[in-house]
C-alpha cells in the first residue's frame, strides 16, 4: 500500500483530506505541524507528501527546504496544498522543489486525489 504524508495543521481540513485519501486505498500519515512533518517524512519515507504552508513551529517553506537538502527524502514528490496564492509564494515553493502547487479552496477532493495519483512514486 502506498503511503501519503499529510502535513496540515487545520484539523477539519486534515480530517476531510485523510478520509478521502484513505477511501482511495492509501495509507495516510498525519502531521499537525512542520517539525513533526519533517520527522515523519524522514522516518516513514512516504510515497508522496502533501504540505500546507502556514504551519506552527516550522512553516511549509522551511520543511520543503529541509526535505530537499536531505538525500534520503529529497526525491519524494511534494505537493504544496495551501490557501496562499500570491505569485511570490507559488514561485518560492516551486523554486524550492515542490512538484505541484494547489490552492485548496479552488479544488474538489477528487481533483486533489487525481493530482496525488498522477504524482505519487
Amino acid at each position: 500500500m502506498k503511503t501519503i504524508l499529510l502535513i496540515e495543521d487545520e484539523p477539519t481540513l486534515q480530517k476531510a483530506l485523510s478520509t478521502a485519501l484513505s477511501q482511495e486505498g492509501y495509507d495516510v500519515k498525519n502531521a499537525l505541524d512542520g517539525e513533526i512533518g519533517l520527522r515523519l517524512a524522514r522516518e516513514t519515507k512516504p510515497n508522496i507528501i502533501l504540505l500546507d504552508l502556514i504551519l506552527p513551529k516550522m512553516d511549509g517553506f522551511e520543511v520543503l527546504e529541509e526535505l530537499k537538502k536531505d538525500d534520503s527524502v529529497k526525491d519524494i514528490p511534494v505537493i504544496v496544498l495551501t490557501n496562499l496564492e500570491s505569485t511570490q509564494d507559488i514561485e518560492r515553493a516551486l523554486a524550492l522543489g515542490a512538484t505541484n502547487y494547489l490552492v485548496k479552496a479552488n479544488y474538489d477532493l477528487k481533483d486533489i486525489v487525481e493530482k496525488v495519483r498522477d504524482n505519487i512514486k
Binding site: T12, L13, A16, T19, A20, Q23, P56, N83, A105, D108
Partner: protein
C-alpha cells in the same frame, strides 16, 4: 463648508477624503496651495523689487522666506504620501488576510460536501462531516461579522450608543451563559463583585461583546482543567473588570502584538484553537470608545488576566 461642497462636487482630493486624511496631509491639496503661494510670491516679489530698486535685500529676504515656506510644506507633502501609501497597504493586507481566513472554512465545507456526496461514508463519518459543515459555517458567520466590525471601526463608522449600564447584571448574564460551555471544557467560572457597584456609561451591546470575547478566550486557552475568575471593582471614577484565567498564557515576546488585528500568538496556534484574531482588536476599540482602558498581565504556562475600565455614570 462651501469650499468642502465644491471639493465634493468637483471630485477633488477624492483619495484623501476616502482615506480620511485632513487637507494638510493630502498631497494634492498641498500642491495646489503650493502653486498658489508660488505665483503670489513671484508677483509680489516682482512688484516690491520694482518699487524698492535701491534696496535689493528686501527682495532677497522675500525669496528666502518663500523658499523656507516651500521647504516646510514639501516636508508635509512627503508625509502625506507616506500616509496614503500606508493606508493603501493596510487595505490590501486586510483583503488578503480576510480572504485567506475565509478560505479555510470554505474549503472545509466544500470537502465535507464532496465526501457526503461521494456516498462512501459510514453513518458516524456522515454525522461528523455534517458537524464539520455546521461548525465551519458558524466560523464563517463569526468571521464576516468580526470583519464588518473591524472595517466599521477603522472607517470611524461603528455605531456607539453609550447609556447608563449595570455592568454587574451584564457580566452575570454572560457568566451564566458561558458556564455550560466552560463546564464541558472542565473549566469552572465565577463572578465576584462588591455589594454596591455604580452604573457605568457605555454601550451595553458593544461591551457585551467585549466581556464575551474575554471569557471565550479564557475558556479556549485553558488546556485541561482550569478556572476563570471574573471580578468587578470600583476604581476612582471607573469600574474595573478583571478576567483571570489559568490558561496557556501569552509568550512574552508576543505580548506587544496582542491587540493587533489578525494577530494570534504562536502557542495558541500550536494548541489548534480556532479564532479570527480580531476579538481583542475589536474589544480594545470598544473600551477606548467608552473612555476606558484595556490591558493584561500574563505569564506563559500560568495564565492571563485581562483588565478593562469603564467610566462611572454621572
Amino acid at each position: 463648508m462651501e469650499v468642502k461642497v465644491l471639493f465634493v462636487k468637483l471630485n477633488l482630493f477624492r483619495e484623501c477624503r476616502e482615506y480620511g486624511l485632513s487637507p494638510w496631509q493630502c498631497p494634492s491639496f498641498i500642491f495646489l496651495v503650493l502653486g498658489v503661494v508660488n505665483i503670489v510670491a513671484m508677483l509680489s516679489t516682482y512688484a516690491i523689487a520694482n518699487r524698492y530698486t535701491d534696496q535689493p535685500e528686501i527682495a532677497a529676504l522675500i525669496v528666502i522666506g518663500v523658499s523656507a515656506f516651500i521647504f516646510i510644506v514639501s516636508q508635509s507633502v512627503t508625509q502625506g504620501f507616506d500616509k496614503l501609501a500606508q493606508a493603501n497597504k493596510l487595505k490590501t493586507e486586510f483583503v488578503s488576510i480576510a480572504s485567506h481566513q475565509l478560505r479555510t472554512p470554505l474549503s472545509a465545507i466544500r470537502w465535507s460536501l464532496n465526501l457526503l456526496k461521494g456516498g462512501r461514508c459510514s453513518p458516524s463519518e456522515t454525522a461528523s462531516f455534517l458537524d464539520l459543515i455546521q461548525e465551519n459555517s458558524e466560523r464563517m458567520i463569526k468571521l464576516v461579522s468580526d470583519l464588518l466590525d473591524v472595517s466599521r471601526i477603522e472607517m470611524g463608522k461603528n455605531t456607539f450608543m453609550p447609556r447608563q449600564t449595570n455592568i454587574y447584571v451584564l457580566a452575570q448574564k454572560i457568566v451564566n451563559a458561558s458556564a455550560l460551555f466552560a463546564k464541558a471544557n472542565n473549566v469552572s467560572i465565577s463572578l465576584e463583585a462588591p455589594e454596591s457597584l455604580p452604573n457605568v456609561y457605555t454601550d451595553p451591546d458593544k461591551i457585551f461583546i467585549v466581556i464575551q470575547n474575554l471569557i471565550d478566550n479564557s475558556v479556549k486557552y485553558i488546556k485541561g482543567k482550569g478556572e476563570i475568575r471574573v471580578a468587578l471593582q470600583q476604581d476612582d471614577g471607573f469600574v474595573r473588570m478583571a478576567v483571570r484565567d489559568t490558561g496557556v498564557g501569552i509568550p512574552k515576546l508576543q505580548q506587544k502584538h496582542i491587540f493587533q488585528k489578525f494577530f494570534r500568538s504562536d502557542n495558541i496556534m500550536k494548541h489548534q484553537t480556532v479564532g479570527t484574531g480580531l476579538g481583542l482588536f475589536i474589544s480594545k476599540a470598544v473600551v477606548e470608545q467608552s473612555g476606558g482602558k484595556i490591558w493584561f498581565e500574563s505569564e506563559e504556562g500560568k495564565g492571563t488576566t485581562f483588565y478593562f475600565t469603564l467610566p462611572i455614570y454621572k
